[in-house]
Symmetry: C2
Subunit: 668 residues, 2 copies
Amino acid sequence: MTISQARPTPSEPTLHHMAHALRFLTVDAVEVAQSGHPGMPMGMADVATVLFDRVMKYDAGHPEWPDRDRFVLSVGHGSMLLYGLLWLTGTPDLSLQDLKDFRKLGAKTAGHPEAEMLRGVEATTGPLGQGIANAVGMALAERMLNAQFGDDLVDHHTFVMAGDGCLMEGISQEAVTLAAHLGLGKLVLLFDDNAVTIDGTTQHATSEDQPRRFEAAGWHVQSVDGHDMDAIEAALLAAKADDRPSMIACRTVIGRGSAAKQGKPAAHFGAIGAEDRKAMQTMLDWPYGAFEIPGSVLDAWRAAGARGADARRDWEARLASAPGRQGFERQISGTAPAEAAAILADLRAAAVGTDPVATRMSTSRVLNALFGVMPELVGGSADLAGSTQTWPEQATPLTKGDWSGRYIPFGVREHGMAAVMNGIALHGGFIPYGGTFLCFVDYARPAVRLAAMMQQRAIFVMTHDCITVGEDGPTHQPVEHLAGLRATPNLNVFRPGDMVEALECWELALASAHAPSVMCLSRNPLPVLRTDAGENRAARGGYVLAEASGPRRATLLATGSELHLAAEARALLEAQGVPTAVVSMPCWRLFDQQDGDWKDQVLGPREAVHLAVEALSPLGWERYVGRDGLILGIDSFGASGPAADVTRHFGMTAERIAEMVMAELARC
Amino acid sequence: MTISQARPTPSEPTLHHMAHALRFLTVDAVEVAQSGHPGMPMGMADVATVLFDRVMKYDAGHPEWPDRDRFVLSVGHGSMLLYGLLWLTGTPDLSLQDLKDFRKLGAKTAGHPEAEMLRGVEATTGPLGQGIANAVGMALAERMLNAQFGDDLVDHHTFVMAGDGCLMEGISQEAVTLAAHLGLGKLVLLFDDNAVTIDGTTQHATSEDQPRRFEAAGWHVQSVDGHDMDAIEAALLAAKADDRPSMIACRTVIGRGSAAKQGKPAAHFGAIGAEDRKAMQTMLDWPYGAFEIPGSVLDAWRAAGARGADARRDWEARLASAPGRQGFERQISGTAPAEAAAILADLRAAAVGTDPVATRMSTSRVLNALFGVMPELVGGSADLAGSTQTWPEQATPLTKGDWSGRYIPFGVREHGMAAVMNGIALHGGFIPYGGTFLCFVDYARPAVRLAAMMQQRAIFVMTHDCITVGEDGPTHQPVEHLAGLRATPNLNVFRPGDMVEALECWELALASAHAPSVMCLSRNPLPVLRTDAGENRAARGGYVLAEASGPRRATLLATGSELHLAAEARALLEAQGVPTAVVSMPCWRLFDQQDGDWKDQVLGPREAVHLAVEALSPLGWERYVGRDGLILGIDSFGASGPAADVTRHFGMTAERIAEMVMAELARC
């Protein structure tokens, strides 16, 4: 493919040549795919070149070096910019063929960058604004890890490239204000200020003064010509020098180089075509063919990619002799300390036989117990520390300047919190958790989804998980939320029925290295039903909590705060001579992964009456109770009133369950 | 209860007396409920009093007067402020007893204000930040209706009260920037700047300069002592006079009046108790008992509530003689014009027998066809006009200063868009629609939920509704979204299988006066399967598209882009001698509402094989196919690649469906 002998190769490749390599790789990949977004990579190629050649600390051959600078492409549709950078700098796992396979099924070069598929991609992006919050999480993780291990091991910057779309999304505001509040001075946001969106110029939809907005949040702000290499470098160095997070508004021309499309919305998406490519070759003095990068330009890029090798080796030497080495390596590897298992087992054992207690208390129990041995456990809440039990007793708040604090005050920013958690997890070294009310998981849904897609161990602590919220009423009472969460791939959704189970679920969430977890926890005290704590029974997702006294005539399935109702209903039914089993189903996903025999055994004989009770939407329970099974759920929104009244109003009582079963038995 | 004879009643009640009435009603109601949030009402009582006594245009006895000023309490937890105002000003439907029943089951005085339960409540609030965007929608609706009917009929302001929590939520940024961009000068935001949140002072979680932030967005900004009545009035009048949206930062003391709690986070929630009430009585010179409002103070409030009666009567007189009266009344009543039904019927008939066409094109067809006869149909998209087909051909864009435009450029603000749509619907006079990709309904979930709760006719146009999105990959391919939406009470979720059905679903959405709709529409062309267009068959949610040639041995259920696969599979199966029916299920909610006979008839004999196919999460289909039914769905995230490759990769083919059925028949 390379026919550079036929054409002169620049003897002293400049930054412009390097940037043009990015532009033409983009044009050529989009041309082959006949699909993709060339405008942003072509516009930001100069900024990216300066960043990767002159400023960023990285060693392309070692994309997992923990102390590398991070680069997040929040404008994920500009993925060819990232793929071009990764290939040109010599990142392993990526070949020129991969670029030619852009957007083909199975290629690492997916339409939007997928961190789970390709090393070097720091975050899966595409849904706008997420990358900004991920970068805030990474910059926060850097400061937290630095507070633990010092400058010798942890001292790097985080760069994030964002567009108008990212900045219009509300999540950007949550991330931006949090970053300034927490004093994340090593975070640099590069705003692709091209004044164009899909529907036209930005003027059609926004009139915001972005620099002023960032200043209001407490950021260091600069504006620069995004095609002036020296100015870009100066701005980046000034940004690094300032102790506030920095925003650089880079005035760029979208689709820069395309004769027909540069500066126009049409540059956003779609191939520019053979004719325009020719015009572009003339304009940019680039006589090379498709995917052809002249040797000297490629050499320059590879040199840029290797520029950080010495720094990386020095760092490795420092790590080898660092007193904190073991702890650092353990945290980075995501391995739990040896003591953790016994601590959790003790917690579970201690819960057996105790008084009723809200399952939300499991969070503080776990966090308090593990506080000393798992410094990687960091988190906070969206201004609901007490309600969600997410503030460990020994934790001081994390503040600007003291990043050793272990309670992160996320503020009333659920979406930002979840996406920042993703960034913390992606950075490595930590297991992030964050709390709010289950109802408000809705605010954070796009980030929860990405946690699942990116296979990150983030723990979303969602309390006040049903109508027993009581007086706060329907706006605060989740109904439909679990259905959507349960349908999300690679997401553990736990709704434990008592304290023992809650602690089991916490153990599973902590051990889930490649999937996030949502902990749905009760506000109100629940009886401790489990009398055993040896085996982690929640690990199989569902199990028989109480077997029937004889051949089963009824199987009651329940989760969370309804589990004790099922247990009480069982007593009523057994008293009437109906052998009844109670099945607890704290995690559907794990149950569905069990073998058929286990599932059949738990669900019991088909001819028995099956009733599922959950104070939430009934959707999905038919999977276990069948088309004719009984489901006691809630088909409407909730209601405001004292919890006991609301519960009765919706028929969530043991008596009702028993009546429904008896009526069904009479009918059959 | 009133024992005012025993104590002096102020002979000339001042604004302070009136404000104290609000404070004590709050304290007393929270005391009885032993639950609730007194801090905010006590802090903002002075601002509210000035607003309702001196500034706002309303006639309390007629809470549905279309030209009233709107007041939205975005800080919904401060509901007692609103209930106090409504009762004191003499709003119908609300008695002192209702205040005493605060937060009791069945009371109109729910924990958070519910528009669907009580006239005078302009929006259901509680989830923070929503009310700001609702208010933007109302202010936008006012300008749009004014552009149609002029100052004589439409000339009112919108006031919204928001707290630190509201302003930390990302949705506030989306709403605030959109409001300024659209030039909504008659919108006034009253910021309860009390510097306190649940977890402590705001300093713990935010460092933002709110006035500067609003200025950056283009707002008129003032700061005022929130307890200085004259200063508040002056600021409100200045806000009204400015042609930008106005933000007034009201520096207040949370829980003002409580000896023990004022100025402290503890004031946020919970009763202040008898002792503190006594101290407060002394401090505020208020010798009255629980729920006791001295006659002269109540008179002053009732006078305030009646202050707008003349203006209302004048307005009614203007309406009576207005040339646009009929149209105005029709739009406000939410009744469709007589011509609409025939236009829609014609559209459906014209679609029969045509070439394959993407169901997303139904949107532009409907909008174009109804453009002339339904000026109430207004909407736009989150920067995806072309993709979502939400820009009618004849529509000019709505811009600052020209609010007659019928395309609303919502910008990349999905959450803001949905909540603004809610505000437009709540205002009355319009049916709002808004488009984005189905995947990004996640960004808007909290607002979609509230649309359902508030029973508003908002139409969420969600295109690119499955893996056939293709190259954009898993970040842009919905999988789990429908499960969560289908589980949401009072929400119509439509996923039509061809153009005829899509037009039927649009007809149902337009007619759904008390429930919002989500239109899940295909990006790619789908064959037109329906050969009839007389009856709206989607109205029953599910129906037999093609009956089996003999006694059914298989029933295939499908929606959307998989419906034609089912139809093709039916042909394959029938060719192999297996009588097979195809059931289309465009709306589960409507199907579930049908009587049992209809459902049995559609789903067919149990002993037949049931297979559901939908290129989304299988969760929930067991309701129709049973525990042993076959479901061809997608249990993982999607993949990036050309649509045909991705579809094949996930086995979404007619051949696969037929094979699954044949294998099951062989097994049985």
